[in-house]
């Protein structure tokens, strides 16, 4: 298999690193060589966060080169555009339909792009752009924090790792109380693509 490059992006505090750790563990258990790295600004909340995950027969660099990502998973829309240039021309973007305007927007010095602008910006790189109502779906399932799981479920359709393996890795990484709802969230996210 050719090395798979997955970029997960979002805002500090959203659980980007957690999600990429989970995918990395699943890839490890599937027998691949795995490298992953998180590039954070300062070790603080609220900033832009990006995590690089690569797996395959043998991986050298933990960093993905621009234009080489097979899959971009974005937990926030503005961050999706910020890292969109990492996408391959035949890559896929799975973007949570959530806007978290940074303080620069709130204070009026910057502007937050509208949905049409976001989709257009991403389609410059690949036609495969999916705006997913992740936060709304997670809330409907009872906990907005499960948005990561919903998105992972959706993104699992683009991964060469079996959904069962992903689900069981997810299960193993969660406290007992959260297992069942997250498995439901994963399945819901997964089936949203099939529809």
């Amino acid at each position: 298999m050719k090395t798979q490059n997955i970029l997960i992006v979002g805002v500090g505090g959203q659980g980007v690193v957690l999600a990429s750790n989970l995918l990395a563990e699943a890839a490890l258990s599937a027998g691949y060589d795995v490298k992953k790295t998180d590039t954070l600004g300062m070790a603080q909340r609220g900033g832009s966060v990006v995590s690089h995950l690569r797996f395959g027969e043998q991986v050298a660099s933990p960093l993905i080169a621009a234009g080489e990502a097979d899959l971009l998973i974005a937990f926030e829309k503005l961050e999706a555009i910020r890292w969109g240039h990492f996408l391959k021309t035949d890559g896929a973007a799975v973007v949570n339909d959530l806007a978290m305007p940074p303080l620069s927007v709130t204070l009026g010095s910057d502007v937050y792009p509208c949905d049409a602008e976001i989709v257009t910006a991403l389609k410059r790189f690949t036609p495969e752009v999916h705006l997913v109502p992740g936060t709304a779906t997670a809330s409907r399932l009872g906990n907005a924090k499960m948005v990561n799981t919903v998105l992972l479920g959706y993104a699992s359709n683009f991964l060469p790792i079996g959904a069962e393996r992903l689900a069981s890795t997810l299960e193993a990484g969660l406290p007992p109380k959260l297992r069942q709802p997250n498995l439901v969230a994963f399945e819901t996210g997964r089936s949203m693509y099939l529809k």
Partner: protein
């Protein structure tokens, strides 16, 4: 065989543990922090957060004198603080193995500068090991202890941010079971560095370097990977991994031991290839050596001298230099996007004092109002509270290195600055080296105002303990140094404690202290919200009362948002509620109140 997915830092910790580590000491600093955090979870190893890096090295050195294996960990700038202790360790050498980890930060992800710690290895005449992934981080940690004991030297282990903070597969080796009873034996000629003994020891240090140079030639830490004879790449650290991606067919000389360098190995390698490239992050440490040996090599002429490398940067540089010609069509990031700098968290106790400083100092203005010339001189320091430099707070005028703020303020006052300078420092930084600066200010009667922002933890690096926190590295209770008692004991006559979330009290205390002609210390106390996770009813904005003046936005709270359609709103998922309530205190229309319903 067992396959683990570990970060470089976790791998260093496991490697050291499997090498029979007995004691580890560190001061937290990105990207090194997680090494000690991981070690603290292993049973049978003593792990501590020391008050600063010099102390950490001294603690580890003392332990190694009893014959056990010990380690001190820090980030690159920490090695500056520990430089004296580091040189002392080099001179006396060791009993049990001593490894000093200095994690460099190319690209300055979260530091105040970019420096190449390999220069300290050269200065201290100690071996330097550079891992390039987690497996090597694990293996090199083990090798470092062995080298340390074999050559009677501390060993510098130099990972970089990308090695520390990337995860890759580690296959661990069997754990060494060292049967060592810690015991000190007297040997003044080795351990008491009076000039006579020191001269003798330094001669031994020079001999040690000669032996290490011979060792470097055959060390398994350095290895050649045969490929095309057209291009030979000498690389260390993460640069090796990037180079493998960009030049899959080249020959490689992969250097794990970069001080001292293997003369013959390099010469033989260079002789086998037509062209030599040196790929190393930050300085031309290896390249300079090659040149000094008369070997023609390309390095920093092509590759950047500053910043973090990536496969992209190496490919672009090589294309530009004509070493490779084809490059895939490249895409560029979208321009003009709204920036997203890190912020103080919702419910951060620093927000209130910074908001007050900002309003007293004319640092921020309501949206649409004209900015005024800033007042107050505010010397900052290293920690979360450095984020107070960002808008809308904008209240930090200087930030140099750990503990510098108080001394800088004293310097300004002594230089004759018209205005009484303020210094802002966190509790952990105060314990690290702020104490020294405060003692100096007391002694020299500097008329400054010192704000110690006490959130009870080392928050920036992830809530590590310190002498004022009452929490050990293992998360067990520890003795707690009370800051106000310490400050008063140091001779400060005017020391007060104020609640960080009581804006009126903060403002009154600040005004009083600035008007006073004495040295004033104000301890602003409030727990870090991401540590305590204290939450109560989130605040809510009454849209009928709110006139969108934007006063609440000036706190810089990320839970308060403004949208075109809904005006200003508070994100109930992010707001910590009654624990903070700063926004409620600043709203001139009293439009902010407790939400009704269940506590979140």
């Amino acid at each position: 065989m067992e396959r683990l997915l570990l970060s470089g830092n976790e791998a260093i910790a496991l490697g050291a543990c499997h090498a029979g580590l007995k004691l580890a000491a560190a001061y937290p600093g990105t990207p090194s922090t997680e090494i000690l955090e991981a070690i603290a979870k292993f049973p049978g190893i003593y792990a501590e957060w020391s008050s600063n890096e010099a102390v950490a090295v001294e603690v580890a050195l003392g332990a190694c004198y009893t014959g056990v294996r010990a380690m001190a960990c820090m980030k690159h700038v920490g090695l500056n603080v520990a430089a004296d202790a580091f040189m002392a360790a080099s001179t006396t050498g060791v009993r049990g193995g001593l490894v000093i980890v200095a994690a460099d930060d190319p690209g300055i992800h979260s530091s105040q500068n970019e420096q190449d710690s390999r220069n300290y290895a050269r200065l201290g005449k100690v071996p330097c090991l550079e891992p390039s992934d987690s497996q090597e981080a694990y293996d090199f940690a083990r090798s470092a202890f062995q080298l340390s004991e074999e050559f009677d030297t501390p060993v510098l282990l130099r990972p970089t941010t990308r090695v520390c903070h990337s995860k890759s597969v580690v296959m661990p080796s069997p754990k060494l079971e060292l049967e060592r009873t810690p015991q000190f034996s007297h040997e003044p000629g080795k351990l008491v560095m009076l000039p006579g003994a020191a001269r003798e020891r330094w001669r031994k240090v020079l001999e040690r370097m000669e032996k290490l140079t011979i060792y470097a030639e055959k060390s398994p830490l350095n290895r050649a990977v045969e490929g095309s004879a057209e291009l030979g790449i000498v690389a260390s650290g993460i640069g090796f991994q990037y180079a493998r991606e960009v030049f899959p067919n080249a020959s490689f000389l992969k250097l794990g031991l970069t001080h001292p360098l293997p003369d013959k190995l390099i010469r033989d390698f260079a002789g086998r290839v037509k062209k030599v490239l040196v790929i190393e992050e930050v300085e031309d440490f290896i390249e300079q050596y090659l040149r000094s040996q008369g070997i023609t090599a390309l390095g920093k002429e092509i590759f950047p001298r500053t910043g973090e490398f990536s496969p992209d940067i190496i490919r672009d540089s090589a294309v530009k230099a004509g070493i490779i010609d084809n490059t895939p069509a490249k895409s560029w990031p979208a321009a003009g996007l709204a920036r997203r700098p890190p912020l103080l968290c919702p419910g951060c106790p620093h927000s209130g004092v910074f908001f007050t400083l900002s309003s007293l100092g004319h640092r921020s203005t309501l949206p649409g109002k004209k900015p005024r010339p800033p007042k107050l001189t505010i010397c900052g320091d290293i920690g979360c509270y450095t984020l107070g430099a960002y808008q809308p707070l904008g209240v930090i005028d200087t930030c140099g290195c750990m503990g510098a703020g108080i001394s800088q303020a004293a310097g300004m006052a002594k230089a004759g600055a018209a205005e009484k300078p303020l210094a802002v420092i966190g509790d952990s930084t105060f314990m690290h080296s702020g104490i020294n600066s405060l003692l100096n200010a007391v002694y020299n009667q500097a008329k400054i105002c010192v704000l110690i922002l006490d959130n009870g933890t080392t928050a920036m690096t992830g809530h590590q303990g310190h002498p004022g926190s009452g929490l050990a590295a293992t998360r067990q209770p520890a003795a707690r140094v009370i800051i106000e008692e310490l400050v008063r004991g140091a001779g400060v006559r005017n020391a007060s404690v104020v609640d960080a979330f009581d804006l009126k009290a903060v403002r009154a205390e600040l005004r009083r202290a600035m008007a006073s002609s004495e040295l004033e210390v104000i301890i602003v106390r409030g727990d870090c919200p991401t540590l305590t996770r204290k939450r109560s009813r989130p605040r809510i904005i009454n849209t009928e009362k709110c006139d969108n003046c934007g006063a609440c936005l000036l706190i810089g709270c990320s839970a308060i948002k403004k949208s075109e359609s809904d005006g200003i709103i508070i994100d109930s998922g992010a707001c910590v509620g009654g624990y903070c309530a700063l926004c409620q205190q600043v709203c001139p229309k009293e439009a902010i109140s407790e939400s009704i319903g269940e506590a979140v």
